[in-house]
Amino acid sequence: MAHLENLVLCRESQVSTLQSLFGERHHFSFPSIFIYGHTASGKTYVTQTLLKTLELPHVFVNCVECFTLRLLLEQILNKLNHLSSSEDACPTHITCETFNDFVRLFKQVTKAESLKDQTVYIVLDKAEYLRDMEANLLPGFLRLQELTDRNVTVILLSEIVWEKFRPNTGCFEPFVLYFPDYSIGNLQKILSHDHPPEYSADFYAAYINILLGVFYTVCRDLKELRHLAVLNFPKYCEPVVKGEASERDTRKLWRNVEPHLKKAMQTVYLREISSSQWEKIQKDDTDPGQLKGLSAYTHVELPYYSKFILIAAYLASYNPARTDKRFFLKHHGKIKKTNFLKKHEKTSNHLLGPKPFPLDRLLAILYSIVDSRVAATANIFSQCLRCWVSDLQRPHGAPCSAECFLSCRRTFLPTAFLELPLITSLVTLQLLTLVGHDDQLDGPKYKCTVSLDFIRAIASFQSFQDTILLALWLWQRWQ
């Protein structure tokens, strides 16, 4: 038992609960146990070490890997088969398609001599994935003991509370066990537990103290903290290795490492730069400011027309359709200022997120933005079929105006024909998304998924004419 205490820190009460639940080897245990707690609260680790050190027969399955029912069931059965059969004999592969088969096969497998008269444990890690599988699976596992009439206990591990699991039809209630988050003291204890062999435990504990001081406010994930601890430890040791400070000289060491850790919080922790790059920086002692993170590369180079389409899409997505006439028509007449915006429209459009817009609205805005300056070379517009009817009075190739688009919304040809290649390419790049294109009568609808900053970068690059700047300016006034 003392051995177990050394392995599992700060989880004494949970361990003793579990142990008392398990009871003696041949005792029937609770049919199902549900363990939940936040990420890195030791659920998997505690269960695994407990079962291993007590040498109980158990099967450990991670549900993420088993994306079909069949994989899950077969994995459990085959692992059990391995357990029951003696080591040299190679057990045959069991195939199992349904839960019904599983129960039958399970009975067969557990008949073996080595599994008799003791509780078999099935641990399902990341049990939340079970919810997405067949409906009978979760209730089935919960009362597996009853169904198979064998001494078996199913342990479910999850990050989600039990209430979110409970199926509508009701089920057997498992024993629910909560693993609370580690406190800062616990973290300190656990982290200092794995100190490097060449340094003393106290020295490492002091380092962990500093580390937690910096990172505890943003991150309580034990795994992540441990990773960061290992990553930054060489920097902490640096003065000691160089002989500039002794191991006791905590203050000096702290001054050395603290700014470094703060930088790490902004870069490595967010995965802006990779940990191997971080290690390299440490080694070369260069300034991490020089290395740009992933978010620094925001600029996307786009072809000329794609830029315009994207801007038009943005305007269409965040602008109420009513205001189009005012913004984009040359002779829109006078609009009364007082009632220009309805009350609900006065809330910032950016808070509401992008709204879907039909294709012809996008094209209408596009026309009014590009105006006449590209008309001569723009063959792109001749591919637009929507304005077929009204456009035929004009010579081919000349783009129709925004007025024409707004006034004429007749559907004349099948809409699938209208997919402009440029728009499709923007959709594949995920800059626009297509919303609900099942309806054959309506044209396709799109949403613009890029941010204002992105659009601003493009628009400023384009040295834009007044309309867009005005439109952009008007939104900001609403905010």
Binding site: V64, T298, V300, Y305, A378, Q383, L385, L429
Partner: protein, 680 residues
Amino acid sequence: MATSSVSKGCFVFKPNFKKRKISVPIEDYFNKGKDESEDSKLRFETYHLIWQQMKCETQRLQEELNKNLFDSLIEFLQKSHSGFQKNSKDWGSQIKLREIPTAALVLGVNVTDHDLTFRSLTEALQSHVTPYVVSLQSKDCPDLKHFLQKLVSQLMDCCVDVESKEEESAQKKTHCSMDSLSSWYTNVTQTDPKMPRKKRTSSQWQSPPVVLILKDMESFTTKVLQDFIIISSQHLHEFPLILIFGIATSPIIIHRLLPHAVSSLLCIELFQSLSCKEHLTTVLDKLLLTTQFPFKLSEKVLQILTNIFLYHDFSIQNFIKGLQLSLLEHFYSQPLSVLCCSLPEAKRRIHSLSDNQCENIRRLPSFRRYVEKQASEKQVALLTDERFLKEEAQSLLENLYVYHTNYFLVLRCLHQFTSSLPKYPLGRQIRELYCTCLEKNIWDSEEYASALQLLRMLAKDELMTILEKCFKVFKSSSEKQLGSTAKKIEELLAQFQSLDAEAKEEEDTSGSHSKGLQKTDLYHLQKSLLEMKELRRTSKKQTKFEVLREKVVNFIDSLVREYLLPPDTQPLHEAVYFSAAHTLREHLNAAPRVALHTALNNPYYYLKNEALKSEEGCIPNVAPDICIAYKLHLECSRLINLVDWSEAFATVVTAAEKMDANSITSEERNEIIHLQCSVY
């Protein structure tokens, strides 16, 4: 097809394979189009040769441009993998999170080019890093099951022998979990040394990594990616995976797709490919701005190609396709394109030209202009004597060749001067400059004048660096005609350098010259100050540097005026310049609306049936029904009454019935019409 069956039903007809397999040799297509076709076979061969050369050149360029990127990528893979192998006993790496090495490859928005890049990347990786390279596309992986299935099948195809393939393929379908994959991997790597394929890499590593390329990161669903990364990070110890994300937009997409819990399992490093605009510049530089290939594009064609590139897709592949199309079209439509080959070969070909071809030469507008300038006896000789014409044509071709060599040298030189000017009056890229030069006499343009004006204001060190670059440009060519220019530039440079020395001396003398201002009253002081100012202004105009700068600018100006004549001033330029811009536009920038309109409005255009030929405004009743309906609809497109429309349609169609007695009875016809109308 007919059956002997009495009843109605569906019958299967097997296609007659013999009939289909008649294929025309490609050369013959060149024959068909033109009636006066000449040397079509020779033309086709020349086309083929030039295209092959161009293709090789582009491939070489591609490899060269990718080399840097691939090298760094391979280095990253090797380093991260060897790190995985080496320090597994180290204290740190035991505790640290095991991260999956990931390369984020930002390739730009030209998605059509990516395939080629990935293909060569796969080859490079397979020869340098590992035999196990798998690439997946988002459309193949709607969920994790398909994802793993694809991964497994591709992996096993990577290295499985033919015999064991069948046995494995049975397994493939049933087992596509990560477990089976990692057990397969350990199997393969342990037994592998027997296999000859693996030997070259086995010397490097005992267990080569598995590289997985996700071609279009943006389109993958979040869940699939997340789950896969979580699973494979758990198996990383027995299954050394390396990911490569192909990103078209920006690396932020990684953060958008993956939550922190998942992205913390990755060790991401960023790699950026060359921007496609730079790529275009190099392609243009190596394919068009050179005398290596005789084929040239006219201004309009070049403009169309670059516009499609810059405005629509940024795709180098499409650009090269467009270039190929114009090459093909040139050799197809221009009979004199036989002369579009290397100079000695062209001279040889002129000798064997037929009478018809000679006539073609005489008909060339550029040649006519040339003839008109000659003395009258020579004119007669050129128009009547074949042999004289051929000799003349030879010398003209030679002139054309020399013109081109000089042209590109001077163009590059001018580009050196103008590319550093503020606001770039003549364009930042050499292609813009080239377009203007092709179009007209560049020295007539306002931009050129303003550029010269700006040049006259350059500082000395700038001017000297530009001159040095120009000197290098001229030095690199071995042409004799412009050898003197190089010498002249060298002289100018030397003069600039001597200026330095002189300036120092001058400073010394002027230092002694200036007397301190003597104590005077205000009026005198003002006066003397004014005098000094005047003196400075006049003397400024006469500094040696300014004289020299003026000289340089004039020198460049004279070069431009002498050598940068637009190509249509050159006789016989039609043989090498492709100028049919509208054909190219029709092919590359398809306009479905216009095509549909033409088809409906004027069915003769596509159907080529004489009966359909009609005058404007008249609706032939023999036209396809939909054309008639469409034309009627055009007559009143604003508002149309369905009854009127059908009525008018019936009138038009039945109008023929009265004249044509032996066709089906009008009643039957009406029925058909009603049926069709109800369909519309």
